[in-house]
């Protein structure tokens, strides 16, 4: 039976990628199940419900059981071309993951304000907004985020190593507020 002929499938749920996701998630669940004996412990003279390994068993057991049943319930249990195409779309998000991690590693080095002022306009440029207006808006947004969160809400983000090159008064101002 085709996916769209199944009356119990929720409307709008795509068929592409479902089997690929279920297979990868199922394989991960099986890996966790195989690792179970080495990664948990059962302690003597303790009730089952209080065993350290009891709840991981429930979690991993549930993952294996329900993912297995989900795969059996899927209308198509073969990986087809649209599944692989969908898989390639998933890897497209990795680029932005790298952008995000680059930002994370940049902050302790050049400081929150400079990293943000560099990251936001650069990513805006990358996304195709190349007008001067959008770049100024992105820079304004970056500075506003830094001021609101670091100066006003006082969230804990350490100063950058680059701030050490600043004069003492300026350095302490930057460490505290930017």
């Amino acid at each position: 039976m085709r996916y769209e002929d199944d009356p119990t499938t929720p409307k709008g749920v795509p068929r592409r990628g479902q089997m690929l996701f279920a297979s990868v998630f199922g394989a991960f669940a099986v890996f966790l199940a195989v690792s179970y004996p080495g990664q948990t412990a059962w302690v003597e003279k303790t009730k089952t419900a209080a065993q350290p390994g009891f709840w991981p068993l429930i979690g991993v057991g549930g993952m294996v059981l329900f993912t297995g049943l989900h795969i059996l319930r899927l209308n198509s249990r073969r990986l087809r071309r649209p599944d692989w195409a969908e898989g390639r779309r998933w890897t497209g998000a990795l680029e932005f993951c790298v952008w995000f991690l680059a930002y994370v590693f940049l902050v302790p080095v050049i400081g929150y304000v400079f990293a943000s002022a560099l990251f936001v306009p650069a990513l805006t440029w990358r996304m195709g907004y190349r007008s001067g207006f959008m770049l100024w808006v992105s820079l304004g947004f970056a500075l506003a985020v830094v001021v609101v969160f670091k100066a006003f809400l006082e969230v804990k983000i350490p100063g950058g190593a680059f701030y050490d090159y600043f004069p003492a008064a300026l350095r302490s101002f930057f460490i505290l507020n930017l």
Binding site: P52, C97, L123, Y129, M134
Partner: protein, 539 residues
């Protein structure tokens, strides 16, 4: 009366007033931008609220939660795109009204219906609070365990058609909660000898990854939408007059909102569905529903706005969050060492009533803001999607990094971001993972403590509340099994229909050609094969 006065005393602070204003205006703005939603905003703001007082932090988050649905109605009505997921039903009747040139009427009706739903639920819960204060102490460890179990079962079976994968994801959430050092016997669970896993996986990191980063990835990999806006002229007060003509629909729908909000794992969608169905079935003009019916709009907006206040009941009274947003709020309580549960209703009732009063004031503030600023507010709908993605990615960094200044946390959040992105692309549910994590932790602690007093299995349900909860679980599971059986029958019928479907002559020819081609290819492969194929026994 004394209770209300002492609650007002809790609220009478400048920082609470600022939090109320920021939460209400911020929530409306966030709701009005399709693609952001309250979950993303709350996930990002969560670590920032840890440094605030519990009442201030919770007021901001409650503000966003309660007012985002007001804002979400704006794009739902004007451009047929719900601002938040729960405004999807608003598009059914809101957008057809806009196409008829009645955008102002639709918005006005949505605001007044939302306001009615919000106020009714808060007033009902303030009146209901003394009753809750009496019931809450009846919940011991085993009752809370059973209520959490009921919550997780309801969350799973609420995803009709996706129950199995929802159960697998909830189990994944339960597993995630167990990673790290076990707090009683001090044994390691799934740490794989890695020091960064010994401390466990932080809920906030998972929440930020699954909600905020995944949304950023989704927007960044997508396309910008072209939006054509409708100009609004005139005032927005006429909705109240129209609402007054449908008191029955408004009050029943808000009643559904209050009831469904109180049940963990059910929430806005069921409340809206029930309210809308009721309104349609009892309407004199049911054929108008889905084509710009004012009753339909009232039913959906009153029901979804009655939920936030009611959803705080299981959280405050039992410490059990019913959905992802209240699960996030639970972490604010834990950070400030305020333990939600029966004790909170017994000893800090003024705090509970203060939260409800904050919601009441919030509804008034939001309405005043919307009546005055809708014309300016609708411009936020035009923000390009991919630029929004850039903004969410930037803000997510603050959320994750400010927790422990850990790059590892950011990498874990990024990994969950990719996972959430995949789930969102496949329309698979994310909420069971979060509730699995939160409720799994609660169930582990409560089951362990309750088993100390249990000698035989039946002792577990020998108290009235525990017995009622157990019966509810059994009934819900029985109903679900019946639903599964009916679905299987439906699928069988559909399979039969497909197998016996009338086909065209062209279809026959096509299949015949495929068959011949497959046979030829098989013969060719057999001829070219290096090793001869073993002959079948019958050949």
């Amino acid at each position: 009366m004394d209770l209300i006065l002492s609650a007002l005393e809790v609220l009478a602070r400048w920082d609470v007033a600022v939090a109320l204003l920021a939460g209400s205006v911020g929530g409306v703005l966030i709701g009005a931008i399709p693609g952001v939603g309250p979950a993303v905003a709350i996930a990002i703001l969560l670590p920032a609220t840890f440094s605030l007082d519990p009442i201030v932090g919770l007021t901001v988050l409650l503000g966003i939660y309660g007012s985002s649905m007001y804002g979400g109605a704006i794009p739902a009505i004007l451009i047929n795109t719900p601002g938040t997921a729960v405004n999807a039903l608003t598009t059914y009747d809101g957008f057809p009204m806009t196409t008829r040139g009645e955008a102002r009427r639709a918005l006005s009706l949505a605001y007044s219906a939302s306001f009615f739903g919000g106020i009714v639920s808060v007033v009902a819960l303030i009146l209901f609070a003394p009753v809750l204060a009496r019931i809450a102490p009846m919940f011991g460890s085993r009752e809370i365990f059973l209520a959490a179990l009921l919550g997780i079962i309801l969350v799973v079976i609420a995803h009709r058609g996706q129950t199995l994968i929802a159960a697998a994801l909830a189990s994944f959430g339960i597993f995630l909660n167990t990673v790290g050092l076990e707090p009683v016997k001090y044994t390691r669970r799934y740490t794989f000898e890695q020091s960064w896993l010994a401390g466990g996986i932080d809920l906030i990191v998972v929440v930020l990854g699954l909600f905020a980063l995944s949304q950023a990835f989704l927007l960044l990999t997508g396309e910008d939408e072209k939006i054509r806006m409708t100009r609004l002229r005139g005032g927005l007060f006429q909705g109240f007059r129209e609402l007054a003509r449908h008191p029955r629909v408004a009050s029943v729908s808000s009643g559904f909102g209050v009831m469904m909000g109180m049940i963990p794992g059910v929430g806005e969608f069921t409340a809206q569905f029930l309210g809308y169905t009721y309104a349609q079935k009892t309407s004199r003009r049911p054929e108008d529903f889905g084509h710009g019916s004012s009753e339909g709009l009232i039913a959906s907006e009153t029901a979804n706005n009655a939920v936030p206040a009611a959803a705080m009941v299981p959280l405050l009274a039992l410490g059990i969050p019913g959905e992802a947003l209240t699960a996030m709020m639970l972490s604010v309580f834990y950070v400030h060492n305020v333990v939600p549960g029966p004790g909170l209703f017994l000893y800090q009732m003024d705090f509970v009533v203060a939260l409800y009063l904050a919601l009441l004031i919030l509804n008034v503030l939001v309405l005043a803001f919307l009546l005055g600023a809708t014309n300016q507010l609708i411009k936020v709908v035009k923000i390009p999607n991919r630029f929004l993605g850039v903004c969410i990615l930037t803000l997510s960094f603050v959320g994750v990094y400010s927790l422990r200044n850990s790059a590892t946390d950011c990498a874990i959040a990024a990994a969950f971001g990719i996972f959430g992105f995949i789930l969102k692309r496949l329309f698979l549910p994310i909420v069971p993972i979060i509730l699995g994590m939160v409720l799994g932790g609660i169930m582990e602690v409560k089951l362990r403590s309750s088993m100390n007093r249990v000698k035989e299995p039946l002792d577990f349900i020998d108290r009235p509340v525990a017995f009622i909860l157990f019966c509810m679980i059994v009934i819900i599971l029985a109903l679900h099994i019946r639903r599964v059986w009916l679905d299987a029958r439906l699928r069988k019928e559909a399979r039969w229909r497909v197998a016996h479907r009338a086909t065209r002559f062209g279809g026959h020819l096509h299949r015949r050609r495929e068959l011949i081609e497959a046979k030829r290819a098989k013969d060719l492969r057999a001829r070219r094969a290096i090793l001869p194929r073993p002959e079948k026994a019958g050949d």
